[in-house]
Symmetry: C2
Subunit: 358 residues, 2 copies
C-alpha cells in the first residue's frame, strides 16, 4: 500500500529540469513564461504518467489561499439547511471551491470552536447560519470574508442574506385571522435568534393590527426541533382547550405538532388548524396537506455565495432580505361556527374541538 505520491521536485529530477519549469507548466503558465512546446508537452505527459497531483497544502501555504469555504450551520438534518447546503455546494463548485462543513447543533460554544478551526484552516471565506444567541464571538472573525445566512445580526459589520421573516409571519397570521381564527398559538423556534424574533414580531403585529386580545394568543416553544413541536403542542392541547389554530415557526416544529395533534385523536383542520413557516417538498402529502410560508431557499443560497464572492473580491457587499410566499393547501379551515358536520372523532369518544363554544 505504497502511496504513489510524486512531488514536483522528483518530477523535475526525472525530467532533468528545474522544479520551477515543471511548476510553471503544470499551473498552466507555460505560455506566459515562454516554455518551449516540446518541454511543455513532455512535462505534461510525464506528470500524467506518474499521476502527479499537486499538494494543495503546500500550495495553500505558499499562496495563502485554500479554495475552501467554511459552511457553518445549526443542523444539517433539517431539510431547510440541507437544501441550502446543496445549492451552496453547487454554487461553490462552479467557482472551484470546496466546503468545510460544520454542524453547530445550535451550540454557541461549538460555533466558536468551529470558527477557530476554520480560521486556522485559512478558509477563503465563511458562510454561516449562526446559532444566533450571541454575536460578540463573531467580531473576532470580521477580517475573514463572511456572510450570514438565515440568521443574522444587524449590529455586526457582516452582510447577511435571509428571508423576510417578519412579513412571512405576518401574512401567515393574517391568513389565519381571515379564516376567523383568533385563539391562536405560535410555536416558536430558538427563542433569541433573529429569524425567530422576526417571525414572532410578524405574528404579534398581525394579532395587534386585528385587535385580537393578547389573552387569546399564546407564544411558546423553545427551539426548531421536532421534539419542541411535539412537546409544546402536547402541552398546549392539555392547557388551552379553546385553541383553534397553531402557527409553527419551522418545518420540523410542524412535524412535531402534527404528530402530537394526531396522537391526541384530533383532526386537522376540522378540530384545529395549522400553518407553518418554511415549506418542504413533502408538505403536499401530509394529512392534510400543509399550508405554509415558503422561503426562497435556492435564492438565499445563490445570493449568499454571490455576496461572499463580492466580499472576497473586495467589493461592496449588501445584505439582502428575500420575500417569502404563502403556499395555500388545506390545513387551515375557515373557523366559522357553527360547524357544518361532526368530525370523525366522535367515533373515538372524543369531543370534537369544533363544537366547543368560543
Amino acid at each position: 500500500m505504497e502511496p504513489p505520491v510524486i512531488t514536483i521536485k522528483e518530477l523535475a529530477k526525472l525530467l532533468d529540469l528545474s522544479p520551477t519549469t515543471v511548476s510553471r507548466v503544470l499551473s498552466g503558465n507555460a505560455k506566459k513564461y515562454r516554455i518551449s512546446e516540446s518541454t511543455e508537452k513532455l512535462v505534461k505527459k510525464t506528470a500524467k504518467q506518474y499521476q502527479y497531483e499537486p499538494n494543495q497544502i503546500a500550495r495553500n501555504l505558499r499562496l495563502k489561499e485554500t479554495n475552501t469555504i467554511g459552511l457553518v450551520i445549526p443542523d444539517i438534518s433539517n431539510l431547510f439547511f440541507a437544501n441550502l447546503a446543496r445549492i451552496i455546494e453547487i454554487e461553490l463548485r462552479k467557482r472551484g471551491k470546496l466546503i468545510l462543513l460544520s454542524d453547530t447543533h445550535d451550540s454557541s460554544d461549538l460555533e466558536n470552536e468551529t470558527l477557530m478551526f476554520l480560521f486556522g484552516r485559512k478558509v477563503d471565506g465563511i458562510l454561516i447560519a449562526p446559532v444566533g444567541l450571541t454575536s460578540e464571538h463573531l467580531r473576532r472573525f470580521t477580517h475573514v470574508p463572511m456572510v450570514m445566512i438565515d440568521r443574522y445580526f444587524t449590529k455586526l459589520p457582516i452582510p447577511y442574506v435571509s428571508t423576510n421573516n417578519f412579513e412571512g409571519a405576518y401574512v401567515a397570521t393574517q391568513y389565519l385571522i381571515n379564516k376567523n381564527h383568533s385563539k391562536i398559538a405560535c410555536i416558536q423556534g430558538l427563542v433569541n435568534t433573529i429569524s425567530n424574533k422576526e417571525r414572532v414580531r410578524g405574528f404579534q403585529k398581525a394579532i395587534d393590527d386585528n385587535g385580537i386580545s393578547s389573552e387569546d394568543i399564546r407564544i411558546c416553544g423553545t427551539d426548531f426541533s421536532i421534539e419542541n413541536g411535539y412537546n409544546t403542542t402536547k402541552k398546549l392541547l392539555k392547557q388551552a382547550s379553546s385553541l383553534t389554530a397553531i402557527f409553527t415557526l419551522g418545518n420540523q416544529i410542524a412535524i412535531g405538532a402534527m404528530r402530537a395533534i394526531k396522537e391526541n385523536g384530533l383532526k386537522i383542520p376540522e378540530d384545529i388548524s395549522i400553518i407553518s413557516f418554511d415549506d418542504q417538498a413533502y408538505f403536499d402529502l401530509t394529512c392534510p396537506p400543509l399550508t405554509t410560508i415558503r422561503q426562497p431557499i435556492d435564492l438565499i443560497g445563490t445570493e449568499a455565495v454571490s455576496v461572499l464572492f463580492d466580499l472576497m473580491d473586495g467589493k461592496q457587499a449588501e445584505s439582502k432580505i428575500l420575500p417569502a410566499k404563502l403556499i395555500e393547501r388545506s390545513s387551515v379551515k375557515d373557523f366559522n361556527p357553527p360547524s357544518r358536520s361532526a368530525s370523525a372523532d366522535e367515533k373515538n369518544g372524543l369531543i370534537p374541538r369544533s363544537s366547543i363554544p368560543k
Copy 2:
C-alpha cells in the same frame, strides 16, 4: 480591516524566546521538554493575549496530517444522506476532525474530480457513498483510508458499511404478498448501484419464492429522485391498470409516487398500496402514514466512522451489513377481493381500482 494574525515567530520575538520553545509550549509539550514553568506561563499568556491561533496549513504541511475527513455523497438534500451527514459530523467532531463535504449529484465525473481534490488536500481519510456506476476510478485512491457507505463495491479492497438491502426489500415484498398483492410495481433508484441492485434482487427473490408470474410485476424507474418517483408512477398508472401495489426503493421516490397517485385521484391504500425503502421522520404524517423499511442510519454513520478510524490506525477493518426493519403503518391494505366498500373516488367519476377484476 487588518488581519490580526500573529505567527509563532513573531510571538517568539516578542517574548525574546526561540520559535522552538514557543511551539513546544503551545503544542502542550512543555513538560516533555522541561520548559520552565515561568516561561510556559508567560508564553501561554502572551499567546492568548495576541489571540495566537496556529496556522493549520503550515502545521499540516509539516505533520502530513490535516485532521480533515472527506465526506462524499450523492445528494445532501436527500434526508437519508443529510441524516447520515449529521451523525458522521458528530462522530468526527468527537475525534477532532473536520469534514470536507462534496455532493456528487450522482455524477461519476464529479465524483472523480472531487476525489482528486480531496487527495490533493491530503485528507486523513474519506467516507464515500459512491455514485456506484463505476468503480475503477476508486482504485487510484486505495492508499488513502477510505470506507464506503450505503453504496459499495465488493470487488474493491475498500471496506463498506451498508444496510442489508436485499433482506429489507425481500421483507417488504413478502409483506405485500402476504397482503394478497401480486400485481406489483417496483420503482427503483439509480439502476446500477449496488444498493439498488440488492433491493431489486430482494424484490425479485420474494416474487419468485411466491411463484408470482413475472408478467404480473414491473421493475422500472431510473434514479432516487422525487421526479423519478413521480414520472414513473404516472407512466405506470397509465399503462398498468391492474396494478395493486407499488414498492418504491427510496424515500424521495416515495414522495414522487404518492404525489402522482394523489394527482390521479387515486387513494392509498384503497386503490393502490405503497411501501417504501428508507423511512423518514415525516412518514407517519403522510396521507396515509407510509409503511416503510427503515435503515439504521445512525448505526451506519457511527460504524462507518469507527471502521475508518480502524483503517487510519492501520488496524484490520471489516465491512458491515446492518439489518433493516419493517415499520408497519397504513399504506398497504389487504388486497382481498371483493372490496368491502366503494371508495371515495366514485364521487369524482373515477373507477376505483379496487373494483377492477384481476
